[in-house]
Symmetry: D2
Subunit: 302 residues, 4 copies
């Protein structure tokens, strides 16, 4: 397919939505983002990259990092993770403590904050440095220089009472192996990684290749890769998974930095970025672009 033209068309369709969202403003470093920014990149299973707009500009990947912590934890530690975190949609806003209490400290899935803290904890136990493990993976897949934006990480930690509450709550149920402070540090560090649409589309390629990395080595089994796609489709976009499944029809993971990474199984990975968010925390223009792209290409999984 003429991907370059298709993503250019998708960008054109998204432009009218650029100022309809609200930039995340709970910390200054994110609030400074320009709502008219837009970037989109598609990396095919063969490693070919097509991009439009600011597709090479790094942004704060935020919760998109949870896709990589999940993947690396499964790759390094295997199925044991699922005893500590569930795989079902949560049905409540993304940082709710309620469900956690009713389910004895086992988060519903790895993409709500509580679940992501458990995954970070496990990855840290497996590697000794959860955040660096994620950065290293992104570097390897993208070939780019990838680092954590320290200002964002520090700033998030300073505004993170809910995450601290979640982490202590998990610890009270015995569902953290490392000290709360360590887990939070690494959580903030991997959420504050800066990467571009190009980098993330390349880094997500293993899911389009059913578990195989850019260098041809296997990261996940075919079955595990399917599992990760299924979790993305049912839980990857906060409390709007049903809506995203309908409008875009692809497994996807969003972040409050405005990025969304979506998978076209067998075809490639696509990353879009625009900082204006809807009420559920997903990029307004990003969803619009993906919607236009899948409508034009018929590449929805449905």
């Amino acid at each position: 397919m003429p991907y370059q033209r298709l993503i250019a068309d998708a960008m054109a369709a998204a432009v009218p939505h650029l100022h309809r969202g609200r930039v995340a403003d709970y910390i200054p470093a994110l609030a400074a983002a320009d709502p008219s920014s837009f970037g989109m990149a598609l990396a095919t299973v063969d490693g070919e990259v097509h991009g439009v707009g600011d597709f090479e500009r790094a942004f704060s990947i935020q919760s998109i990092s949870k896709l990589f912590t999940l993947t690396l934890t499964l790759a390094l530690g295997g199925d044991g993770l699922w005893e500590r975190v569930g795989r079902e949609p949560s049905g409540t806003p993304f940082n709710s403590l309620v469900q956690l209490e009713f389910e004895d400290g086992v988060p519903r899935n790895p993409f709500i904050n509580a679940g992501a803290l458990v995954v970070t904890d496990r990855l840290h136990s497996l590697t000794g440095d959860a955040a660096e493990t994620v950065r290293e993976f992104l570097r390897a897949e993208s070939g780019a220089v990838i680092g954590t934006d320290a200002e964002v990480a520090v700033s998030e930690a300073g505004h993170g009472h809910r995450n601290s509450a979640l982490a202590h709550f998990l610890a009270s149920y015995g569902n953290l192996e490392n000290p709360v402070a360590t887990v939070l540090d690494h959580y903030y560090a991997h959420c504050a990684i800066a990467a571009s649409c190009r980098d993330l589309a390349l880094a997500g390629g293993f899911l389009a290749r059913h578990g195989v990395r850019a260098d041809g080595t296997r990261l996940l089994t075919r079955s595990e890769a399917k599992r990760v796609n299924a979790v993305m489709l049912t839980c990857g976009t906060y409390d709007a998974a049903g809506e995203f499944a309908y409008r875009v029809g692809l497994p996807g993971k969003s972040g409050v930095g405005g990025g969304i990474l979506a998978v076209l199984p067998g075809v490639g990975a696509i990353c879009v970025w625009s900082p204006g968010l809807d009420a559920q925390g997903n990029s307004v223009a990003g969803v619009a672009a993906l919607d236009a792209f899948t409508t034009a290409t018929g590449l929805s999984v449905f």
Copy 2:
């Protein structure tokens, strides 16, 4: 593909699971089901049917009927439905009242019992006879004689205090247009429809054909058909949608009668039946058969 052989293989893979589940026993009519029963049928988009086992034996379709009430309500009444019922996964067991209370009487999705009651109510307002509308549709698509098993319907009504509670609760929020007793009658009547795997696979074909019925007329727009598939994938199997998405990787709707109807977009619809259920209310052997089928064919959406 050699579908006949593929579904025979899927049946073979499911046989060891036949006695691992528990037949629904809350009413005698369902409790009498034979746990060693198994049937499976695939109807291609062209209307060709392949079947194995008891694929022509009628069983109680139960919640699979909710797929048809939803579809017919969207076809006849349009998008207005979504003001009265949500489209997101529920994250709690399928008949919980809690979420309903916290969300002011708007059920999370059309497949939990509360949501299905709202859909039944709307369909009844649109047609004057919700249950007969569903039966009529099944007859038209399958060419078979389709009726409601009155014994099952009466028996369910007699054990349906939770559904009565839900219906009155919805009414207390003004989210029912018809009398509670009418809505419950039609709800039980469409859940107690008896149909075979063959009939249901044919009746589900419109979703594989992106909204087009067997006779070539359009029932849903392409976009609406995608919506229904998305709701099935994220909410169609009670509190196990994430697990089903992973193991089977297809949009599917299950019922406590032991049936599951799944959609292969662009290919066909597949229905499997075996009465032994897992803890979430889904057919154990049915899920195993679909798992084997998608693994062998690679027809998962992921």
Copy 3:
């Protein structure tokens, strides 16, 4: 004490509050109440009655009836009731279904609607006619003609979807012995009893006499009477029990008809009525009058 003067002073203190509340308007029969109505009566343990204002005018006793169903059920059926209903404050608005679900169909206390339905059910099993048993008791203690206002009862039944939901929900947990419709009928019938402040103050006398009726016979043991007072103090005024305990400092039971019956242990019972309600469903002028009375007399239990 010069009770006549004291209650006249209490009425004077309440007059400025007469129009500050909102008359219950969910059914026409209650909505027609005049918000400037006010009555207050004190019946001493010796049966002497002092009254001011409309203290002989009958009003809809509503939830005050729950005090009598509880008492009569304990008197006739003993402690077994406490296996089906708890004795702790509920901490949520008075008709919430949530707590009921989390506690497996056992209502927190006999004064929330769910608990009162269970008590009504038990009383009906014990006597064959729950509502008439309450009316009979009120007649005996007050010497007055006491009946149910049929218009109110029918009207409540017609607007009672939440109570129907509660009753079916209780039935789904096996916590009703009689048919849902029977329990609801008797529930509405005893709530719709019309009685005056004078009648209710006399009928509440047994609690001031530690369990002994007007005719000297024992209705409850001393210990049971203490239990009923304790339940009134901690649960008798919906979600404002703490506030009522503070302001009034007496065991009390309120109703949305605007009545409040309070107990002065060892001294007497006092009933006040004025239809304007606060946000919690308690009579604004009634609470003000009781507050003034206990402040002036020092008769608070604290």
Copy 4:
């Protein structure tokens, strides 16, 4: 009354219950308590002290300290506190996060852990040293040397993930003025105060004297003292307030160290201690002793 004999009788009645409870064992310092320990003291409004058993032996006062933080905060800061914490029973176990989430970070009452953290925070803002303010008050009223058991405080902090979660959660709603770590330090420090039944009975005397301290100065207005008694009666014994109101019939505040401080309005304050706890966290022998005492004396408020 012959108080010395009455409390000796109450102790005799409690002895058979000494080994029926379970000593709190979440930290070693509390787990080491001897379940056969028992002490009881009554201090009259005139300052006369009667005691039996280990009534002069210091124990860990734990949540009884919350009575003093509440009182001192009201005395020093006035009614403003009630904008940050409610006054109603909670209806859920004492450290639940759920209700807090549903009520936007305003704890239901000052005696659940979340509420006590808010009170500690406020007291710290008012005085600069919340824990020392409590110790100072206890010293002044009892004339005893009163200190914090550092081992207990440190040990609690080390096992306090739930309290850390609560504190961060409150902070996320903006309902803490001081740093989370400071609030927790002072919370653990006042809970770990060691004092005897004698000391606490003397320190609680102001509530029996309607707000007046041992030295005749006024600590609380009469109305505020009534408020504190009302909060104790409805919320002072965790999830068993209704049961305690019934069995004992006095305002009381318990702690997991096994102490209970109860108020006899106009008569005196009574403190009992025995480390074996029931399922709700209240001293089994302590409740039995208070039950026997109020039954014998008729001093219940009901």
